[in-house]
Symmetry: D3
Subunit: 200 residues, 6 copies
Amino acid sequence: MSALQQSHAVSRFPVPSLEQMPEDIRGRILAVQEKSGFVPNVFLALAHRPDEFRAFFAYHDALMEKDSGLTKAEREMIVVATSGANNCHYCVVAHGAILRIRAKSAHVADQVAINHRKADITPRQCAMLDFAMKVALDARNVADADFEALRGHGFTDEDIWDIAAVAAFFALSNRMANFTSMRPNDEFYLMGRLPKEKSK
Amino acid sequence: MSALQQSHAVSRFPVPSLEQMPEDIRGRILAVQEKSGFVPNVFLALAHRPDEFRAFFAYHDALMEKDSGLTKAEREMIVVATSGANNCHYCVVAHGAILRIRAKSAHVADQVAINHRKADITPRQCAMLDFAMKVALDARNVADADFEALRGHGFTDEDIWDIAAVAAFFALSNRMANFTSMRPNDEFYLMGRLPKEKSK
Amino acid sequence: MSALQQSHAVSRFPVPSLEQMPEDIRGRILAVQEKSGFVPNVFLALAHRPDEFRAFFAYHDALMEKDSGLTKAEREMIVVATSGANNCHYCVVAHGAILRIRAKSAHVADQVAINHRKADITPRQCAMLDFAMKVALDARNVADADFEALRGHGFTDEDIWDIAAVAAFFALSNRMANFTSMRPNDEFYLMGRLPKEKSK
Amino acid sequence: MSALQQSHAVSRFPVPSLEQMPEDIRGRILAVQEKSGFVPNVFLALAHRPDEFRAFFAYHDALMEKDSGLTKAEREMIVVATSGANNCHYCVVAHGAILRIRAKSAHVADQVAINHRKADITPRQCAMLDFAMKVALDARNVADADFEALRGHGFTDEDIWDIAAVAAFFALSNRMANFTSMRPNDEFYLMGRLPKEKSK
Amino acid sequence: MSALQQSHAVSRFPVPSLEQMPEDIRGRILAVQEKSGFVPNVFLALAHRPDEFRAFFAYHDALMEKDSGLTKAEREMIVVATSGANNCHYCVVAHGAILRIRAKSAHVADQVAINHRKADITPRQCAMLDFAMKVALDARNVADADFEALRGHGFTDEDIWDIAAVAAFFALSNRMANFTSMRPNDEFYLMGRLPKEKSK
Amino acid sequence: MSALQQSHAVSRFPVPSLEQMPEDIRGRILAVQEKSGFVPNVFLALAHRPDEFRAFFAYHDALMEKDSGLTKAEREMIVVATSGANNCHYCVVAHGAILRIRAKSAHVADQVAINHRKADITPRQCAMLDFAMKVALDARNVADADFEALRGHGFTDEDIWDIAAVAAFFALSNRMANFTSMRPNDEFYLMGRLPKEKSK
């Protein structure tokens, strides 16, 4: 397979057909397809390993779907900023799309992916991303002063856990996507960029 | 001025009105507006310093508008990849738009900005970007072996100069944009992402 | 609470009592205690978030307990080497103990934690750790050549996934442990260091 | 051509003879020769590309020759410090000579090239160089606090632009010199080091 | 010699027999053996170069054996922390053993080697190690503010010299050990880990 | 004492007078003064600690004064290149002077201090400096392949020890000089730069 062809594959590894998947995984994938209109490639790529698939999405949902002091858009900001720092093509494109939808903003994802300090976000969100980047890139030096700074912006300790846990989970996710050369679906690139979508 | 307001400004520095600008600079800006339908903010931000404006755009045009063994799309790839590495919000967004238009590809700019090694580009273009990144980030170690590798992909020595010179010029440009907090125009974000635009 | 006192806590965050834990989590913890003679602090620290606890250990078991082309000792080598690179005190001490037991070697954990290239391991294991370190520290640049090098040492593609997935999972784990200042149990420091233990 | 011979060449690329140069470029070069007694190799190396030559020196003069709140010696300090950080042999040697002349100091160039924090400069100049180094090496993180620190040393916003613009321009220049293996003229090494020269 | 065999050698370089050593070096080695019960491999590896051996241990003793405002345990903490940062297998294992003995602590060496900011040490000791790490990794930026911070913890200027000099000496030692692939003696791994040893 | 005054001091620490020094140290210093015409400040700064002074110069002489497969000029190249990489103002200026004298070259020191890959040195010397830089900056990764590369240039294993040991010793020296803000004597800056000196 040529380099060009390979680059269009979902993953370096085999992707099972729906028929080959365990029942629960097929079910989850069909549900996503019904809701979104397509199956994000991360579901297909990780279905190669059913037990890891189950744990991965259980972890994802525990962080990204639950109630939190952080909005869902803010959690996606953390994903996009740290995935940019990790040069993870899949996560920047796919979660950039989700961030645009959730933040009802056509521009914030591109801003945060490149340099969150130049983004149209609040000072509180900037502090949130500063900390997320420290967890992503320099967790060894996380210290009391980091907690104090976040509390000064109104974050509770539970919020701080949420920030760190999202950054930590995507440290895993970014490495899996880069390692498997996971390819983002074409659909993601344009999602949330057009005015009409915002009113959804 | 609040942080949020400031982030919507074109630049940290004053921007002259058209009336305040020297004749030649006003002329260039009006010509760009007529062609593009808007004035990219880099023209406004740099108009604060007319002599630097003139040299900047003369240099830009000498590299980006001339005939070259590199296509215009390839030169924009170099801009986007190195601007991503330098976390330059303005250049990634503005030149990402130009790259989409010139490459007639809705996706390549986002790919190259995050990780050119995962992008849908040819091996020759990947080698071109590997070298551009070395010039951008580690020019001290450019050596004969780099030239040999590029010649192996069919690049002439003049092509190699072009690759390096574009990367070097945007080393300057990225620093000016980050230093002035130059803000990309809203128009850039969507340019080249819609199917109909491709047929332009 | 003084810095010294704090440093003896299991975690920066509250740790639930056994009575406060959901049934399944309490059950897992009691089972670990019965088998090991003590409860590793990671179970207590993560019990603060039951859903994340469940996903974390499901992921852990899917990688570390399953059959694999890598021995359990080799998987622990990956944990210890990458946790050393991430300066994760908890994981180096706790998994260093497990590695000593599983490799029946009193010395290999300290060697691998500091510099795997000076460790008493086989060239195949050294290649495995070179790749794990690349996934941990530079996943953006994982490329075909890395796969080829590992295949040259007899690793299958499924083995390579296992190497990468263990490194990626502990990228998450190291960040959570550093963020929560998770403290390793005193028991770990001496485990597997005495001759009689080896014959267990 | 042997490595040693090559290392004595002006540039990796062909250098045109005076006769081959466009009139304006030949004129500039002859004027420099008359004033300095020799032609700095940067003029010869860049003459390979006349349009880039013109833009390069127009930019250079716009920054280095104009009136500014920074003395010419201070602007050369910025060049030497950032060129040292970029390991640019040509610019450290050539602009080190100019700095010695302009600062009337035989020692400051060597000091600033190696470690400006150990140099015999004023605290204001040290702050200037701290900022120039941030623009050269970490422009993504330039922030309001950097501007405040400089204003505290009496720099105006226009002075701050000058500092940043000189650092940014030599980011370009250092990359071109390293890429072309541009060789400094022998004359530069000793210029400004002898007591009599200071009284010129 | 295979990679595995080589990894069990004391050094990449020849090690002289006792008979081959100059009288003073043999005497020192026999004295160490009598006191410790074995000869640490650093004595054997460096005996390959008698003059360097003499200077090395004279320097070592001048720093580590003299009276100082730092306890001997504190000086060993500096060795272990900076040797961990330099990934020096020999020094972390050998001096980790000495630190355990001198600090009468079975755990502090493993903690300090991996991440001194998570170690069971006093804030004063943490400040000492912060500075030692700066000397080890970033000496170019040592500044007045570092001295002020240490004085705030009660360190005299002579104590500060001691901290820096120990870090600087082991910058040398770590490089020699890594370069020669110096192998720590098996005896070191367990030293100071058992309760009875503490009462020695 | 102002920042400017301080910057002219020999060291941050007290410097003893000749009368205050132990006999042997005073003797060495007087001998140096007689030979060189001045006392290099490193002798004065380290005389603050007589035992460290003695060990330091014994180590220095064991490496720099002995017979070796490396010329004295080559050993000074190693000092200047690694001291440049460590941003050590004292060592670059002082040993740059010695290198100019020993290599009978007015230019090589400035070249090697900034970027040895652009210096007028032989391929063998370039390989020597590549290895010295690896010992200085990345000793953890020194491996068999490095030895093979050097043997390919005709270096014996004893020569390789010499290269590494000089780089390692100046890792110590650079840290002491940066920590003490050791100031190079004015005499060094011009030494070896004038044609007549070469014929000495």
